[in-house]
């Protein structure tokens, strides 16, 4: 079980839920569970082939899991996963 925080621009995809507890032993399990719970959010989280999309930034305890290659990192009771949309350009 991990605490998951949803960035405000994405909260419409979770029915305005900003924070929730999600089951899963690893980051990708938590994300899979989250995707199942919120189908609209799933489109942001996962590519059509089921891999983690680059359209969001996912942090496990303040570390970007994509850069650190930690998609399968273990998640503990005190873990915090934060999800934000990426910004493309400016």
């Amino acid at each position: 079980m991990a605490k998951v925080l949803i960035g405000s621009p994405l909260q419409i995809l979770t029915g305005n839920v900003a924070e929730l507890e999600v089951r899963g032993a690893t980051v990708d399990e938590v994300i899979g569970e989250l995707a199942q719970k919120y189908p609209d959010l799933k489109k942001k989280l996962l590519t059509p082939d089921g891999t983690l999309s680059y359209s969001v930034l996912i942090y496990l305890d303040s570390k970007d899991i994509k850069s650190a290659g930690r998609e399968k990192a273990p998640v503990g009771e005190s873990s915090v996963i934060k999800i934000f949309p990426v910004v493309g350009g400016g």
Binding site: S8, L10, S55, D64, K66, P85, V86, G89
Partner: protein, 610 residues
């Protein structure tokens, strides 16, 4: 009565007469056009006739800030520059961050209007005590960073300088104005550097410390405290990876330009030049603009090329798109070098990448030869050749003279099939967002008042997923669906007019600086009583005024078109989507209250008070 947050004073400098004067800012104009972009548009509309030569004495170069500038409100210290563009011949604005806007406001002015042409190269020095027109002397001819360093040496570290480089001096039509020295921020688009160069104005040094009065400072503080956490958390990706944190995603959905917008997938290349790769390899530091908690600016270590051993500016997303993927250059260090050259010479990286991409395709198709380009071998991916061409553009040498006029002019000179791959809207080269990947981007590029632009609508990050809850419209869920898109773009264009007039950074949207907080900040600072309707109506007034300026300059439906590469040619190997721009324009004009040719109706003008 003068509203709080304003000084109620505009500084006017006539370089032909060597004279600086002050004029009052009418409170009714301030409340109707706010500041920055809106105020600049009002002045341009009133004073610069559509037939004025953009590089002649009748064009104005207008620097304007807003009522929030100079306060401590998050992301509020940008500034806007307005003129008639020498690149497009129509309304032009460019908006920049850094520290110049705040320091200018603290000199005691809401706007600076520069008119006329100096006989000799000069620079302006503005502080709380007055304005001086100084001989530029040896500053003329120098690169931007060097000029900024010398001026800060002379005027002190609090001073901020907006400067042009060799490209602006030579009136290259894609020249920019830069501030903040090596932590460069650019008034990049539409050739503002050429306008400044035409006036023989090398730099504008500002050095003020006065803080404008605020109507309700406690309420401002309270709202800032309420936003503190989301401002930091919602923008964490921008801090960590800069504006190119989304590079891989943009490639994934076919948003980045590849090979002059011709090619589709380029996943390995995008990874090599992404914000993540930069953070893991050459990034050495980050920097921020005034009153910003984001730190999206990048500093990188140069390990090869002309700046080897130096710390140089890290390219941001648009630059990586246009000078990287668009030219098939997948070497991050090489793109950083091209970015540094543009910054030092004072060239807009977006237009420069656009026009070099055009030239590379012309070369590949045999329209130009190596001989035409003085031996520069403009093959795709040749970073050294791109470097040589940037120098040729900046100094107007050889084929650089042609390319410095922008893609539209270059295509007209080459003739024939060149128009098929000349990628511009209304003469402005697009930033790194493909209208074939997102419907709102297509509508935004076609209708933006300055030509192809992602910032005048800023919809690209909000078309799928991300959402602005107080925009007053439903969420968009499918980037290829047409449903709700036109209405969304129009609403966002009004919101962006307000951002650019309040001179706030649009990245604040990711941290919660959305419609309601912005409206409340405006009210708390000025003492006014804006609600959401008046907020959006004010944005609409600005947008229509800019359109009317363009209509006077000959713009109509025929110009609200996307280039063949974005509306007719399918993206190679990527999606098959082509935006149906004609039907989208029909709906756009109808919802705007414009006629079928894209002209605002008299009823609409009356409704908006213009």
């Amino acid at each position: 009565m003068k509203a709080k947050g304003y000084w109620g004073r505009i500084l006017r400098v006539d370089l032909s007469r060597k004279k600086a004067t002050e004029q009052p800012l009418d409170d009714r104009v301030a409340s109707a056009f706010i500041g920055g972009s809106g105020l600049g548009a009002r002045i341009l509309f009133d004073e610069v006739p559509p037939e004025a030569d953009p590089l002649g004495p009748d064009n104005l170069l207008i620097f304007a800030v807003g009522p929030l500038t100079g306060t401590r409100i998050y992301n509020s210290n940008r500034f806007d520059v307005v003129a008639k563009s020498p690149l497009t011949g129509i309304f032009a604005e460019a908006n920049s961050g850094g520290f110049w806007g705040e320091t200018f406001k603290k000199c005691g002015y809401d706007a600076l209007i520069i008119q006329g042409i100096s006989k000799r190269p000069v620079f302006l020095s503005i502080d709380e005590k007055g304005t001086r027109i100084e001989e530029a002397g040896e500053l003329w001819g120098k690169e931007t960073f060097e000029v900024e360093r010398l001026l800060r040496e002379k005027y002190g570290q609090n001073a901020q300088a907006a400067v042009i480089g060799p490209a602006g001096e030579r009136m290259v039509r894609i020249a920019n104005i830069t501030t903040d020295g090596k932590h460069a921020r650019a008034i990049g688009r539409c050739g503002m550097g050429a306008v400044m160069g035409s006036k023989k104005l090398k730099a504008i040094v500002v050095n003020g410390n006065k803080e404008p009065e605020i109507a309700y400072p406690e309420k401002v503080q309270e709202l800032m405290r309420a936003l503190a956490a989301t401002m930091k958390e919602g923008t964490v990706g921008l801090k960590q990876y800069g504006t190119s944190g989304g590079m891989e995603y943009c490639e994934e959905i076919g948003n980045i330009p590849v090979k002059n917008w011709y090619q589709g997938p380029w996943p390995e290349g995008a990874k090599k030049i992404s914000g993540r790769t930069m953070a893991a390899s050459i990034l050495t530091n980050r920097y921020h603009c005034g009153r910003c908690v984001i730190n999206c600016g990048r500093v990188v270590k140069s390990v090869e090329g002309p700046y080897k051993g130096l710390e140089i500016g890290g390219p941001e997303y648009e630059t990586l798109g246009l000078l990287g993927s668009n030219l098939l250059i997948d070497d991050l260090q090489a793109v950083a070098t091209l970015n540094e050259l543009c910054n030092r010479y004072g060239l807009d990286t977006i237009s420069t990448g656009g026009v070099i991409g055009f030239a590379m395709e012309a070369y590949e198709r045999g329209l130009v030869s190596t001989k035409d380009m003085d031996g520069i071998d403009l093959r795709w991916g040749n970073a050294k050749a791109a470097q040589e061409m940037i120098e040729a553009i900046a100094f107007r040498k050889g084929f650089g003279e042609v390319l410095g006029g922008g893609v539209k002019r270059a295509a007209e000179q080459l003739g024939g099939v060149a128009a098929e791959f000349a990628v511009h809207v209304k003469g402005l080269e697009p930033p790194a967002h493909d209208p074939r990947a997102k419907v709102t981007v297509a509508i935004g590029f076609a209708t933006s008042n300055r030509g192809a632009c992602h910032l005048q609508g800023f919809t690209h990050d909000f078309e799928e997923g991300a959402f602005i809850a107080d925009l007053g419209l439903p969420q968009l869920k499918d980037r290829f669906s047409l449903e709700g898109k036109v209405e969304n773009v129009i609403r966002m264009q009004h919101l962006m007019c307000m951002f650019d007039s309040l001179t706030c950074c649009k990245f604040g949207l990711f941290g919660g600086l959305t419609v309601q907080p912005l409206t409340r900040f405006l009210n708390h600072v000025t003492g006014w009583d804006f609600d959401a309707d008046r907020f959006f109506k004010t944005g609409e007034r600005m947008f229509n005024l800019k359109r009317l300026y363009n209509v006077r300059a000959g713009i109509s439906r025929k110009d609200d078109m996307l280039p063949p590469r974005m509306a007719i040619h399918k993206r190679g190997g990527g999606t098959n989507f082509l935006p149906p721009i004609n039907s989208l324009l029909n709906e756009y004009y109808r919802l705007r209250g414009w006629d079928e040719f894209g002209i605002p109706t008299p009823e609409k003008c009356r409704e908006l008070g213009i």
